[in-house]
């Protein structure tokens, strides 16, 4: 087991009366690959935003590499090694695909000049975007934008990579390609947290699965265990979701 890389300590996040994270605690270790599933609006993307520094939690502490990062902004957390994608791609529209990745390699990846350009080129190759390198991001289709989102996150050379629904809308061969890419990143020792509805993509990568519903973790274990759990099934059928008093739920671990 690797050293703790990311620790959430009783993190809560509310938007008005809507609770997206209720006293969540979680430890992700170096080399871990964690999948998170849950119904829409369960707070998965908000959890990512709390970790990446886009959102401040109402309470609780986020630690990275043993150090509290609550006071750090998103840019500083990126430079520490937290990389993420957005569910709805947010490319730099007026820049080329290559420039998009180059910006990430430059500051987030801590490289300059030639090494930055080489990293950017390598990441484009890895994510299958090489032929698009000189196209303006504004002219990409949705799938290519998702790839660019992934490429940009990888180019920051993260130690923890958070993927937000990068497999949505992909065909089977594309999902296999994506699994290849993510496993490639994992082999370099990067921890991965992957929020995904496409479970067949997740099980190709993760060895641990958590279900997030109503701001709480229900179920935490191997993908097979969690997917077989009656509580999780109930949530996905939509019957138990949002009640908030799900038996045996609560603070993960």
């Amino acid at each position: 087991m690797g050293a703790p890389l990311l620790e959430l300590d009783r993190v809560s996040k509310r938007f008005g009366s809507v609770v997206v994270a209720e006293s969540l605690s979680l430890t992700v270790r170096t080399g871990d690959a964690l999948g998170i599933v849950g119904p829409n609006g369960a707070g998965k993307s908000s959890l990512f935003s709390v970790i990446s520094g886009d959102l401040a939690p109402n309470s609780g502490e986020v630690r990275f590499d043993g150090r509290p990062v609550n006071a750090l902004g998103a840019a500083a957390r990126c430079r520490l090694g937290i990389g993420r994608t957005y569910q709805v791609p947010r490319s730099f529209e007026h820049m080329t695909v290559f420039e998009n990745v180059l910006v990430a390699a430059g500051r987030g990846g801590g490289l300059a000049g030639r090494p930055a350009a080489e990293l950017a080129a390598a990441v484009l190759e890895q994510t299958g975007l090489r032929v698009e390198a000189n196209r303006p991001a504004a002219r990409l289709g949705l799938l290519q934008r998702k790839r660019l989102e992934l490429a940009r996150a990888i180019a920051t050379r993260p130690r923890l990579l958070m993927l937000d629904e990068v497999a949505a809308g992909l065909t089977d061969p594309e999902v296999r390609q994506l699994i290849e890419v993510v496993n490639g990143v994992r082999r370099e020792g990067v921890a991965v947290i992957w929020v995904e509805h496409v479970v067949r993509a997740l099980v190709g990568v993760v060895d641990r699965l958590i279900c997030l519903a109503g701001g709480r973790f229900i179920g935490d274990g191997s993908p097979a265990e969690v997917l077989a759990s009656p509580e999780v099934k109930e949530v996905f059928l939509g019957t138990g979701y949002g009640v908030g008093d799900t038996p045996g739920g609560g603070a993960g671990r």
Binding site: G53, R79, G83, S91, H94, M95, E99, V103
Partner: protein, 288 residues
Amino acid sequence: MQWVNAIVQGILLGGLYALFACGLSLMFGVMRVVNLAHGDFAVLAAYLALAVITGLHVPMLWSALIVAPLFAGLGYVVQRVIIQRSLDVSPVTTLLVTFGLSIVLQNGMLEAFSANSHSLPSGVLAAGSFRLSPQLSVGYLSLIVFAAAVALIAGLQLFLSRAPLGRRIRAAADDPEAAAIVGTDVRHVFGIAAAIAFATVALAGIAFGGYSSFDPAAGPQRLIFAFEAVVIGGIGSLWGTLLGGIILGVAQALGAQVDSGFGVLAGHLVFLAVLALRPSGLFRVRLT
């Protein structure tokens, strides 16, 4: 020949407008901030240049070497301390805040320098000229200003498209949050963009001061020309701003040729026509 002369003078005047407008264009293109105090900062730069010229006994153009870096620093601080805070609240707040800055600057300058008008001692630059033909001559100062505007805009464009910091400025302009999650300190980068914009304001303020007299209340009238240049050229596009400045300058010069009182109005009419027919400006491509 009079008309050719008017066009040439108009183009050169356009260089001054472009020099003045490119800071406004940059701040809007990157931060989405319309700096209503832009003209007042230009006037402040002229006063500062006057102090440098009379205090250190240096020629007018040399004063830019001191005033422009000072203004770059001022721009960084104003962006980080004042404008960024209002940006965090809402875009409309930036309008109110820069409007407030404009009033504070005007009254501060009135207190400090009185309402008397001044001009910068441009000496041989203003008087001297090339004589291209018996009827056509080009002043040194307007030629230098025009060349400076073109060089500045070309240099800025190159910086934005090629330099790593320039790319980060463009990334932050496109999507500040996404720029942050790939490691860009957006506030710092906005500060740098403001520093560049303020340095260009300083140059424009000095150039204006060499052309004509200025007083503490001169800012807002000049701001209108910068606005017009930016809107004619296309908001956020630096080459467009140069083009917009030139079109405005030529319109004013041709108008003045028709009737000496018609110059400024002709510029306004061209601006109005562009606004009505092509509201997004003549240059469609956004370059920043």
